[in-house]
Subunit: 205 residues, 2 copies
Amino acid sequence: VDVKQKYLDQAEMLRKLYDSKGIKVFELLGSPGSGKTALAEAVIDRIKDKYKILYFGGDVASTLDAERVAKHGIEAVEINTGGICHLEPSHVMEALKNVDLSKYDIMFIENVGNLICPINFPLGAHKRILVVSVAEGEDKFVKHPMSTKAADVIVISKVDLADAIGVDVKKMEEDARKLNPKAPIIKVSVKTGEGIDELVKALGL
Amino acid sequence: VDVKQKYLDQAEMLRKLYDSKGIKVFELLGSPGSGKTALAEAVIDRIKDKYKILYFGGDVASTLDAERVAKHGIEAVEINTGGICHLEPSHVMEALKNVDLSKYDIMFIENVGNLICPINFPLGAHKRILVVSVAEGEDKFVKHPMSTKAADVIVISKVDLADAIGVDVKKMEEDARKLNPKAPIIKVSVKTGEGIDELVKALGL
Ligand SMILES: Nc1nc2c(ncn2[C@@H]2O[C@H](COP(=O)(O)OP(=O)(O)OP(=O)(O)O)[C@@H](O)[C@H]2O)c(=O)[nH]1
Ligand SMILES: Nc1nc2c(ncn2[C@@H]2O[C@H](COP(=O)(O)OP(=O)(O)OP(=O)(O)O)[C@@H](O)[C@H]2O)c(=O)[nH]1
Ligand SMILES: [Mg+2]
Ligand SMILES: [Mg+2]
Ligand SMILES: [Zn+2]
Ligand SMILES: [Zn+2]
């Protein structure tokens, strides 16, 4: 059996499950510390009065991210992968056993901080949001074409730091655009609030 | 055959090879954009008059890092892993086929930007240097205990950005110390030059 096909089939099953429960699912991907949780927190704060929200956070260790998100008054579950550097559909299926999806309108799944593997293991989400921070340097889209090409939405995060790091955000945008002509590319700073409303709109929320 | 043992045996063979050629090998590990190449460049600039240096850079795509290091006048080789999220001993063995190690005193191996897998695949280096930047947030040591525990030297990089990100560097140091009581923990900024001499000393150069 083709291993890759097995994962794709499981992702398809997850998507059917989400659709049967009428829940919209957004996945956050990116390097360790690229700002995925901070972004989820900022978006959740803007929309939590309109939607019932569930958050799943994937990490190799700790429950820190779910604890941060839970402080915003929403249901947050940490999935520990036990060392695997990406979430797999079976991790999500397992975590869903304890949850009644029909209670929620929206689910965020934050994948393990890793710019390489997670993109190869879809989790059935309606939109996959790749978060690349300026703090990682100008070259991450060029160096990671697979993740850049497969994203549905691309966020360039922490743009408030561009001068301190010495990166040209325009160049990052052009690099991302060349690899992925379709995805909206949104410049965001959780510190200044820049781009958060634009992201909420791009997610159709 | 135990797969893990196979890798450890290969790492052992590499170590024996390095020692037979009298070359000291330092491996750089850490998240994408944690500052591994910038650190290698800064250290190389300080020691290139004393030592003959070879640099190997591992990445899933591009030759950008080797090109940056080559500008410092030293031999720099890029190893493209073709998508694998970490270097394996066989990648290094393959690259060494085109190199006469006896010409060099020191080799730097920069692993693929990934805070999870690379630590599980030793490459025979005499010292493994884990580079965690303040830009990734305060919690990376706590969230990545495996990498933190296995490092021989720990660098907290980009400390010039601590205020802009809002992290407590002292707390990061304490977290790292709790998990790894032996490794020197060095605070570094390539921008201000802070800590580079201390790192050179910690490497015995
Ligand atoms: N200056 C600035 N700092 C930010 C921004 N967004 C996040 N940060 C900081 O960046 C660090 C990492 O943010 P997180 O939200 O933990 O990143 P993450 O991608 O969820 O990290 P992992 O889950 O460990 O992969 C934290 O110290 C945040 O405060 C931003 O827009 N500007
Ligand atoms: N402010 C500041 N920026 C730094 C420092 N060190 C590196 N940078 C910047 O951080 C970004 C990433 O640095 P790199 O050296 O490319 O990081 P890397 O770990 O080699 O990245 P990968 O090889 O892609 O994993 C670049 O824009 C650097 O200029 C520092 O000490 N302070
Ligand atoms: Mg997070
Ligand atoms: Mg590099
Ligand atoms: Zn993986
Ligand atoms: Zn790996």
